[in-house]
Symmetry: C2
Subunit: 236 residues, 2 copies
Amino acid sequence: MQEHTVKSYAKELRRLRELVARMGGLAERQVADAVAALVRRDAELATEVMARDVEIDALEREIEAFCIRILALRQPAGADLRLVVAALKISHEIERVGDYARNAAKRSVVLAQQPALGSLNGFQRMARLVQENLKGAMDALVNDDAARADEVWAADQPVDEVYNGIFREMLTFMMEDPRNITAATHLLFVAKNLERIGDHATNIAETVHYAVSGEALTEERPKADSSAFAVVRPPV
Amino acid sequence: MQEHTVKSYAKELRRLRELVARMGGLAERQVADAVAALVRRDAELATEVMARDVEIDALEREIEAFCIRILALRQPAGADLRLVVAALKISHEIERVGDYARNAAKRSVVLAQQPALGSLNGFQRMARLVQENLKGAMDALVNDDAARADEVWAADQPVDEVYNGIFREMLTFMMEDPRNITAATHLLFVAKNLERIGDHATNIAETVHYAVSGEALTEERPKADSSAFAVVRPPV
């Protein structure tokens, strides 16, 4: 390859990382705003979050088209090829994160008109944790940092623990008073959205680890989500 | 390229389609068995479904490694490149379908020990619809059939409609008797899993359409999931 071609190829790969990191940053903000809208009962902010999701979707399409162009024109190999495949996968994960944030925002619109249940501290804690993990995964990608990716990959357990607490709390609210049922159900789904966002952050970290190191993380990830087995009994 | 190379390349692409279709077939079966376990209150079958999910995960890794090898060694272009990128994306979607089926199965284990709620006909109907859509998407991929992909892409609305009905039904069960709350909550999440599987089937159809035709489906997909806005009132 000529020096010019090599330089512009390196520039393209840098731009690819930046696009993915920008998409990740947008998704982080969506998660933060969705939960802020929930906690402040702010239907206007929730509606903004829902409307902003198209930006994330557009970035996914841009990244995919860019990846296909790089694959077709540069025929990357080795670490460069792994980066392009990782960008495709990660942009898809981030798109899902955006969908979950939009869905949480949508439910906040209804919840703003329902009775308030509890402090919602758990939701803020979950949002903070998954945002940190998303940010960590993006930092790992931009800095080619497999160790940082591993940290994120192992950090999902606290998210699951907060989720399990919310699950039990919401079922208890439902049992105390049937008028809580609609609100508690929507809050359960918001908590589930945040828990899934946490899962996507660890998937992204796994993909970054592979892109950077060339090795797959094959051991089972530490999981603490026991809610699928949870049984809560009504008060006697 | 020499004739021999051309032939083995064509064989690789055929094998890639077959691997993805096999993965899709496994996921279909997981969905069917997860719902069968739910309806028959069969914790043993549910446990089998949970254990079988590793086969789907292993196929995803095999497909990804195969795609990377094809990209590195064959440097595909045009429709072949689109097929390889589509295979990467679709295998990831199917892996998610597998996760949702596993999660539904996990909840069936708890549900087998909870009071039975309603006929569960809606769950069987949803499972049938999403299985048909998964199968349709796989047929479209194997037969290079963009029109079939479009049909699947447009067929998610009935899934959403059944889901909305189940959402309201479960909230009503909860309001009637607090002892129904645990079971109704798990059933709500199972219904949500099936609804998400339906979404993934349409995503796959969208990707097949693009791989086959080279054109993206950009119009908004018809959606009927209004449950995020649903409010159900307790009986007076």
